[in-house]
Amino acid sequence: MIKVLLADDHAIIRAGLARIVEESGDIEVVAEASDGREAVRLALKSVPDVAVIDISMPGLDGLEVAAQLLAAYPGLPIIILTMHEEEQYVIRAVEAGVMGYVTKRSAPEQLVAAIRRVYGGARYLTEEAVEMLALRFAKGTTGKSPLDSLSTRELQVLRQLALGQTNHEIADSYHISVKTVDTYRSRLLKKLNLRNNAELSRFAIQKHLIEP
């Protein structure tokens, strides 16, 4: 049984989540906390295998809690559970050392899988979050880069093209038209002074936008 700590200031949600987790059969909620401090306290008491923590809680917020838990138990798999769907939160969470990130909205579909995944030692992130991380690391935090002049969507399209996705596929994944993708592509080539998709791929690899 995977022992899980659930921390969320909303009782209804907590209850809902607990039910989802427990119905999986191999996961057991060992502690439920309604705020950050309680979460830290209970975690120290019950020693869970995985901590599922809401990012926005009164008192200590989720990231703070994660930091304290990781300080107490380095390597503890933590999943951030949040209302926020903005990728910036994911990045912050990953920076804080968490292994998974699940929005509350997708919890019924993803939380169990996420718990099992992080318990198994792997990360659990959404495709968007992964991409965001890749883009962020490619740009770096300091220093000038040719990528600086690119917008998020441009970076996304660049990355997808470098990964060998077709215009169609890209259009589908970002809910934009194929024509728009094509416009992005030609603009990218112009901005980065490249000639074709092959050069785009080479450029993306150079900049660590994708793994070779």
């Binding site: 809902g16 990728e87 603009r187």
Partner: protein, 703 residues
């Protein structure tokens, strides 16, 4: 008037000199002509005398020849009848040959014994002419020529006698005579009334004359002795002889009865002692002869000369009078203008004065005196600086006067005059230099304008201005204070608004969102649970779940619009990064975001301001720019935060901003100003727009 007199005198002098010159010319010509005439007269008398002498001596030789004829001597010696015939023949021959009046022979007693005119009525044969000097001379052995009046013929003649000698005897037998008439020679003397030639005997009786009426008159006033001598001589009839009336007048002149004057020349005839040729030339005639051509020559010359002189004088006089008239006109115009100038100078209500090179007043206008209270005597000749205040005096001496005499003008010099009563008067002085023909400044013409009133007004104005500026400053301070108050208020309102928004957003997002999320959890669970039992109910639940999803999206979007939680949770950088991506996603305009520099934790107010400004800028891009691409950048350097939103849109003229966009920009500015920052907008039509917000990082966050 003077000039006219001078001209008159000059013209008179010119005329006089011309006349004198003409007269002298005339006189010298006259003298020369007169001398010439005299000379001619002398020459003429010499010629006449010579001719006369020749004429008188003409028969001397023939009579000797005749006397030598033998028949004559024989006849006189023998007194035979036969011989007389020969004698007469001889006498006739001689008379005819010589063409003389008569030839005759007288015996020793003086009786005419033979004559060529023996048969004629005036024959004087057998008459005795022993009284005749020619007979007496010849009888004495001397051939004689004599002039006398014939006793029988009454004709004047030249008697040439020669003694007839017998052979070998030196006592004359008789005398032979040839008489020639004087008529011929008289004819040769000429008939001119202006030239009278007479031959007078030693007594002064005119025997030969060019004028008949003069004959047998005494040329000069005769004495008793002359009359008697003439009678005694018996040569010219019995007399008496009248006097011509001619009187001597000096050595060479004479005057007749009627006062007519003559030039007299006389010469004795050779061989006729006492006989003289007298030449009388009428002075009047001489003058006439001399003067006529002279007058003919000189008068036109002199008249022409006089005329020319007169013309020249007239011309010059006209010229001069025209000039005089012009000069007079000019003078009167000058006088008038001077008077007008003087009148203007004194009557214009302006302070006028002139100074000379040494800075002393040479003239002042009445108004000058009136205003300063001096009399003209006190002022003229005194240095101008005496009427200035000490400060003005120094200014005048050291700056104004040297500069004025150098340049010749000065303008609006601020002086202070001292009135006679000691009060001070402010003036503005302007002057120009009066130059002599060489361009050297000799005096000034200056006008002073009383600006006491102006100065007082200026001072009053200055005071008023000072007061006003005090008020203005006060007002400004008040406005500043009020503005600060308002700003504070505005800031507080904004902060309150933000807080409220944040609260609502959080409420919506966290509370409502959580509830909806919980609902979704339940419906999803329900849907899953019901799936094997009741497909319909399960589908219903799934539908509910998707409805809840939509609602969650709605709520999220409202909350985000009110205030994104990311700004509070993750800070400005993350918020802007998200905002850029979100903008791109929503609007479809490419929006790149870049951050430079280590961004520290910012105060809430600063972050909020920066975020709201970028949102407003992005809204403007969507509404107005028509851009393809937007770049948003965040820079932190030297404690200053700057956020730039730049688009490649159509741009605009920032100074012409108005309406809603203007309000929006004003709002951005206010937000910037509230935190001590600035907002600048760079834009040009067709060149895109750049909105730059800058704010100091150090910010006392009171709100």
């Amino acid at each position: 008037m003077k000039l006219r007199l001078i001209f008159l005198v000059l013209s008179l002098l010119a005329f006089l000199s011309a006349a004198t010159g003409g007269y002298l010319y005339y006189a010298s010509l006259k003298t020369a002509a007169f001398k010439e005439a005299q000379h001619q007269a002398i020459v003429r008398v010499e010629v006449i005398q010579k001719n006369l002498s020749t004429f008188l001596a003409e028969n001397v030789r023939p009579v000797r020849t005749l006397a030598g004829m033998r028949p004559l001597a024989e006849y006189l010696a023998r007194k035979e009848g036969a011989a007389l015939g020969q004698v007469n023949l001889l006498l006739d021959n001689f008379k005819n040959a010589l063409q003389v009046d008569v030839c005759y022979l007288m015996n020793y007693d003086g009786v005419t014994v033979a004559s060529s005119n023996r048969g004629e009525p005036d024959s004087f044969v057998s008459e005795n002419f022993a009284f005749r000097p020619y007979f007496q001379g010849a009888v004495d052995g001397f051939p004689t020529t004599y002039l006398a009046l014939g006793t029988t013929s009454g004709k004047r003649g030249v008697y040439c006698s020669y003694p007839v000698f017998a052979e070998l005897d030196d006592r004359p037998l008789g005398v032979v005579v040839i008489k020639t008439s004087l008529e011929e020679i008289e004819k040769k003397l000429g008939q001119s009334r202006d030239e009278i030639v007479v031959v007078v005997d030693p007594h002064g009786l005119i025997f030969i004359a060019s004028q008949r009426e003069w004959l047998f008159q005494l040329l000069w006033q005769p004495s008793e002795r002359d009359q008697r001598g003439l009678v005694d001589s018996r040569q010219f009839g019995p007399g008496p002889w009248s006097w011509t009336g001619l009187v001597r007048d000096g050595e060479h002149y004479a005057r007749d009865k009627v006062g007519k004057r003559y030039f007299v020349n006389q010469l004795e005839i050779d061989g006729f002692p006492g006989w003289q040729v007298v030449h009388l030339r009428s002075l009047q005639a001489i003058y006439k002869v001399v003067l006529d051509p002279l007058v003919r020559v000189t008068v036109p010359t002199v008249i022409t000369l006089c005329f020319l002189v007169a013309f020249a004088v007239f011309f010059l006089y006209r010229k001069a009078s025209v000039e005089i008239v012009q000069r007079k006109k000019a003078e009167s115009a000058l006088r008038e203008s001077e008077e007008r100038y003087r009148s203007i100078y004194h009557n214009t209500p302006a302070m006028l004065h002139s100074i000379n090179l040494s800075g002393c007043l040479v003239s002042v206008s009445d108004h000058w005196l009136e205003v300063l209270g001096y009399t003209r005597n006190e002022v003229v000749g005194a240095p101008l600086v005496d009427f200035l205040t000490p400060a003005s005096r120094v200014y005048a001496r050291e700056e104004v006067l040297p500069e004025f005499f150098r340049t010749g003008s000065c303008k609006d010099i601020s002086y202070q005059y001292v009135r006679k009563d000691g009060t001070v008067m402010d003036v503005l002085l302007s002057a120009i230099g009066d130059r002599d023909p060489d361009g050297v400044i000799v005096r000034s013409l200056a006008v002073s304008i009383d600006i006491s009133a102006r100065k007082a007004a200026e001072e009053a104005l200055q005071q008023a201005q000072a007061k006003l500026s005090l008020y203005a400053r006060d007002l400004e301070d008040q406005v500043k204070k009020r503005t600060a108050d308002l700003q504070r208020l505005s800031g507080r309102i904004m902060a309150g608004q933000e807080k409220e928004r944040a609260a609502i957003a959080r409420g919506l997002h966290d509370e409502l969102g959580q509830v909806l999320t919980a609902l979704r959890l339940e419906t999803v669970w329900l849907a899953e649970r019901m799936a094997p039992l009741d497909g319909k109910a399960s589908a219903r639940a799934a539908m509910m779940s998707s409805l809840i999803d939509e609602t969650i999206d709605e709520v999220r979007s409202i909350a985000l619009r009110l205030r994104p939680g990311i700004l509070d949770d993750l800070g400005l950088l993350a918020a802007l990064e998200w905002s850029a991506a979100d903008f791109e996603r929503r609007v479809g305009i490419i929006c790149a975001f870049k951050a430079e520099g280590e961004i520290p934790d910012l105060s809430n107010v600063l972050a909020t301001a920066a975020y709201r400004i970028t949102q407003e800028a992005l809204t403007n891009v969507v509404r107005h720019a028509g851009a393809d691409q937007v770049t948003m950048s965040l820079l932190f350097a030297d404690s200053w935060l700057s956020v730039t939103v730049e688009d490649d849109g159509c741009g605009f003229r920032p100074e012409r901003l108005s309406g809603a966009a203007g309000l929006g920009v004003a709002g951005m500015r206010e937000r910037a100003a509230l935190i001590g920052g600035t907002l600048e907008i760079f834009s040009q039509p067709g060149r895109g727009t750049r909105v730059v917000f800058r704010a100091p990082f150090i910010w006392d966050d009171k709100a």
